[in-house]
């Protein structure tokens, strides 16, 4: 093992500073009053208005309809993030299971079809996708928000690689032990994939949470606004004739960062395990 020296710590500290400083500045600034921010710019000191600002942001009803709260938007983001991550894992595990463990006609054709979806992220096919959702009357629904995002092969590939690394004898032992395809999947593959699932969950949750373009297109009803798109929306609406509510914008940005950070903190042990070590 390399012994850490003073210089290594300096590099680490610089890294930490670069990563964390903007967040600290945003947080500190958000505790000041809008007028102060307007006068003094960004701030590194505690402003003392933490509770009011965050309460306002979370609970004040705003928007054109006067019904949308920050809390409401947060909930929508959560549904999108969770729905996307869970949907993605379920879908890609099943697809990978089929690809790796079953011989079916035209298997390699299907494999390549799935593969090509990697070349077609949502941004490329956004108009046709919107058309389809519109025709299905799924705009302004959670389904419409989540499902089109699911259609891409990234997760499938992670799981395919993982399943291929599982020794064949495990399947054979399970077959002799009387486990059919479904039982083998649930009893053996899913538990073995736990770390992999955690890793993919984090990646996908953050990806879903941070979606901006698709929710902007899909939702016109403010009741379905997500936090990320709401930051801008709320600013637009709340900007008064005098001073923009900078403090609330910062507070909202901090809130928008919080859940992904928490997910990473909670799952990071598994995340690292899933990406580095195979549990066999």
């Amino acid at each position: 093992m390399h012994r850490t020296r003073f210089f290594d710590h300096v590099i680490l500290l610089i890294g930490v500073f670069i990563m964390v400083a903007p967040v600290v500045v945003a947080f500190m600034t958000s505790t000041h009053e809008a007028a102060d921010i307007h006068r003094n710019g960004l701030s590194l000191t505690w402003g003392g208005h933490f509770a009011e600002t965050y309460e306002t942001v979370l609970t004040r009803e705003g928007g054109f309809t006067g019904k949308v709260t920050g809390f409401n938007m947060m909930l929508n983001s959560m549904i999108l993030g969770l729905g996307f991550a869970v949907g993605k894992i379920v879908l890609s595990m099943l697809a990978a299971y089929a690809i790796v463990y079953f011989r079916f006609p035209l298997a390699s054709l299907f494999f390549w079809v799935i593969f090509t979806t990697l070349l077609l992220p949502l941004e490329v096919r956004i108009l046709p996708s919107y058309e389809v959702m519109n025709a299905l009357k799924l705009t302004n629904t959670y389904t419409g928000l989540i499902v089109p995002l699911l259609a891409s092969a990234t997760g499938t590939f992670y799981f395919r690689q993982f399943f291929k690394s599982v020794p064949d004898e495990l399947l054979e032992a399970a077959r002799i032990d009387g486990a059919g395809p479904f039982k083998f999947f649930i009893d053996v593959l899913v538990p073995l994939s736990r770390t992999m699932m955690a890793a993919i969950f984090i990646i996908m949750f953050v990806y879903g949470w941070n979606q901006y373009l698709w929710p902007t297109l899909m939702t016109t009803d403010e009741g379905f606004f997500t936090l990320v798109r709401g930051i801008k929306q709320i600013l637009l609406v709340w900007v008064g004739s005098n001073i923009p509510d900078y403090n609330e914008a910062f507070a909202l940005a901090i809130l928008a960062m919080l859940p992904p950070v928490m997910i990473v903190v909670i799952f990071q042990r598994w995340f690292i395990k899933g990406l580095t070590e195979s549990d066999k």
Binding site: P167, L170, A173, R175, G178, L192
Partner: protein, 375 residues
């Protein structure tokens, strides 16, 4: 428990590789059969066809009285032990043993009882709550055995179960497998490439070569009367010496040596002569002998292996450790221990009046072995 009948079984893999070629083996109830052969000879393929993990291209496999060609592995009433153990990594030892029973809807109380019994037999009781990761290779091997035992199957199938263990553990596990098999009386089919493992475990062994059976027989039968040069060089360590010779007028010519046989020659013309290193000894004065040039010596402690050549044909001789060595030795010809093989196809040429030295060594029915003496 059940007999297994393998009748004219072939395996042709997609792509046309014929890995097993019309193999027939009749396995008696309770018998321990070892499939032995070099790597790639189709042992695993044959075993996996019996297990149901590989489809049978031709022929029939019958377990008990049931034709199982189209029966699922789980329904064949067999249990298999794999080389890499194939334990479920996320389950505890207990769960590993119980999984197959649970899937069959065995009542909880009976599962507990059976797992406890198997664990006691294999001395893995202290590890029942551990994950396989936290076990040594030998312990994992025991768990894999346990998973087979709890099911109380009609037959055990082993695919090189000891290959991943170190030499010492391999010897002790070998003994243990034999002991367990005798105690349970379960028909067993065991695959290995290790001839020593095959010799020590088998009631009967089946020597495979290129997907075909070279010989089936009790270990000593195969050792003393190999059916072909392939078997001769594969079974026994060191490998049997095979020399080119010519039989003519009741004499065996090995290069410039001419040896008078005291029995009728099995054929005339060129032959392959087999000589086991351990059947050779220094000649006393006046005996018919081969002039043996010594190249180098391997000391094994109990004996020394002397490698050299008779004229231009390599020969290995096993001598007692105290034998004096010179650069040239006169080696006696053990007349009644000469093996003759056809020079064309390597098949054994039976001598007339050859005594069957295996008959006295092994009881006729393998099951008749006294269980107390082995367990």
């Amino acid at each position: 428990m059940a007999a297994i009948d393998i009748a004219g079984v072939s395996k042709i893999y997609t792509g046309g590789v014929e890995a097993v070629k019309s193999v027939s083996i009749d396995i008696a109830d309770g018998e321990f059969i070892v499939l032995v052969g070099p790597s790639g000879c189709g042992k695993s393929t044959l075993l996996r066809m019996v297990a149901g993990l590989e489809t049978i291209s031709k022929g029939n496999v019958t377990i008990g009285t049931r034709l199982v060609n189209d029966v699922d592995p789980a329904e064949r009433d067999i249990a298999m032990v794999f080389q890499n153990y194939a334990l479920y990594p996320h389950m505890t030892v207990y769960e590993n043993l119980a999984y197959g029973l649970r899937n069959r809807g065995t009542p909880k109380a009976e599962i507990d009882a059976r797992v406890a019994e198997a664990a006691r037999m294999l001395e893995i009781e202290p590890y029942l709550d551990r994950k396989p990761r936290a076990l040594s290779g030998g312990q994992r091997q025991r768990v894999a055995m346990g998973r087979a035992i709890v099911r109380k199957p009609a037959a055990f199938l082993f695919d090189e179960p000891l290959s991943n263990l170190d030499a010492k553990l391999r010897v002790s596990m070998r003994g243990e497998i034999k002991r367990l098999q005798k105690r349970l009386g379960t028909t067993s089919l065991y695959v290995t490439h290790d001839q020593l493992e095959a010799m020590t475990l088998a009631d009967r062994l089946v020597v495979l070569n290129g997907g075909r059976i070279e010989q089936i027989g009790r270990p000593l039968e195969v050792y003393h009367a190999p059916a072909s040069t392939f078997v001769a060089s594969f079974i026994g360590s060191p490998a049997m010496n095979l020399l080119k010779g010519v039989l003519e007028g009741g004499r065996l010519h090995l290069g410039t040596h001419a040896i008078d046989l005291d029995y009728p020659a099995p054929t005339r013309g060129p032959v392959t002569v087999g000589l086991r290193a351990e059947d050779l000894r220094p000649a006393s004065a006046g005996e018919q002998a081969l002039l043996f040039r010594v190249d180098y010596v391997e000391e094994l402690g109990a004996q020394r292996l002397v490698h050299g050549a008779v004229e231009d044909q390599p020969l290995t001789v096993a001598l007692p450790p105290e034998t004096p060595l010179a650069s040239e030795l006169a080696i006696a010809i053990p007349m009644d221990r000469l093996h003759f093989f056809s020079a064309e196809n390597g098949k054994r040429l039976q001598r007339r009046g050859e005594t069957d030295r295996t008959a006295m060594a092994v009881p006729a029915r393998p099951q008749a072995v006294n269980l107390e003496s082995v367990s």
